[in-house]
């Protein structure tokens, strides 16, 4: 279990899948189903591989991705 979370905002995502392609660790996978807006929203299937490099959030043209910042575990009490 990872101690952070990736969120893809379905209301903002337009389904370009730049994140799916450019994530260095291939964290995302293109969804096989269309959501209610007709978009193949990417799914962070391999969240455990994520290094929080934030490239996906920087490249997402629709500001739809949030990757939690690294949290120092000592402070996380």
């Amino acid at each position: 279990m990872v101690d952070f979370m990736i969120t893809v905002d379905e209301n903002l995502c337009k389904g370009c899948n730049i994140c799916t392609e450019f994530c260095p660790r291939k964290v995302y996978q293109e969804s096989g189903v269309l959501n209610k807006k007709g978009v193949h929203v990417p799914v962070p299937e391999n969240e455990d591989k994520c290094t929080q490099c934030q490239l996906c959030a920087l490249m997402c043209p629709d500001q739809a991705i949030k990757v939690d910042e690294k949290v120092d575990e000592k402070d996380d009490k």
Binding site: D9, K14, L58, M59, P61, D62
Partner: protein
């Protein structure tokens, strides 16, 4: 949406206007991210940012940002920006423009802004086509590329914008592509920190028009193409024109210090002013 689950740049945006009108995979959104990233790195006070834009897809960016913003006329944002900066040099003035806006109809304002070395940052999103009007060729469309007004291929030579703006006197000039968001963010940081005319040329993807008309249908294909064709300036300088055919030269084209225009105006006012009020900012609010 829970604010804790929002993208880190959402705090700068007018959420009531989202999602923006850009097509899926458009580079404009990436440039927005890199701007905020560069702005944070440069430690620019967001409260002082005034965004100015012309007409075109990229010029819609300021309308989504929660700052003072002017969406002006086609090609003329630099003229408005000049007035905003001179009237109050405290304003951190950033111009968002495109290749049609800055290189065609606004070319004269661009070179004169650079010549004055006025402290504004111009971010030109160059997608080599007119997107808003449906895919006509622009002054930066590669020779032979297709657009709705070049159905048999572009006959004209494209402008090399960064080289041109450097020649006109800008003190910071860099070109990157949307496929290099980290380098682009760094260049924007340096541009914002430069006290003078800064020009960032972002080669960007328009999958809807440039891509579709030039056999690159997806934004991913276009990003890969830009990444593969990019060559850093250091290496490019050693190559011949033939070897550079079709390449995108990326990197810094200019980075130097020169006296800045609004500073010179302020110094003139200090020297000439007889009223003891050399800064008459907000003159409009004085009166009966």
């Amino acid at each position: 949406m829970d604010e804790n689950r929002e993208n880190r740049f959402m705090k700068y945006l007018r959420k009531d206007r989202l999602p923006h009108i850009f097509c899926a995979g458009c580079g404009n959104g990436i440039v927005m991210n890199t701007f905020f990233n560069g702005m944070e790195m440069a430690e620019v006070d967001f409260e002082k940012v005034v965004m100015v834009s012309g007409i075109g897809c990229s010029s819609r960016i300021p309308g989504y940002v929660k700052c003072d913003s002017l969406h002006t006329t086609h090609g003329r944002p630099i003229s408005f920006a000049t007035g905003i900066k001179l009237a109050n040099p405290e304003n951190e003035v950033v111009v968002f423009t495109g290749d049609g806006d800055a290189a065609a109809i606004g070319g004269n304002h661009l070179i004169h802004g650079a010549r004055r070395n006025i402290n504004i940052t111009v971010i030109c999103i160059n997608n080599s086509i007119y997107g808003m009007t449906g895919g006509q060729i622009s002054p930066t469309s590669p020779k032979g590329s297709y657009g709705s007004t070049a159905p048999y291929g572009a006959l004209e030579r494209p402008f090399k914008l960064s080289e041109m703006v450097k020649a006109a006197g800008a003190t910071y000039v860099a070109r990157w592509t949307t496929a290099q968001p980290v380098q682009l963010s760094n260049a924007i940081k340096k541009a914002l920190k430069n006290k003078g005319f800064s020009f960032i040329e972002v080669m960007s993807q328009c999958p809807t028009y440039f891509g579709r008309k030039n056999k690159m249908r997806s934004p991913i294909e276009m990003l890969k193409w830009m990444k593969e064709e990019s060559i850093v300036k250091r290496r490019a300088d050693k190559l011949s024109a033939e070897e550079l055919e079709g390449k995108i030269i990326v990197g810094e084209f200019q980075n130097k210090e020169e006296p800045e225009f609004s500073d010179k105006v302020c110094q003139l006012l200090e020297a000439q002013c007889t009223t003891g009020k050399p800064s008459s900012t907000r003159s409009a609010f004085e009166g009966d």
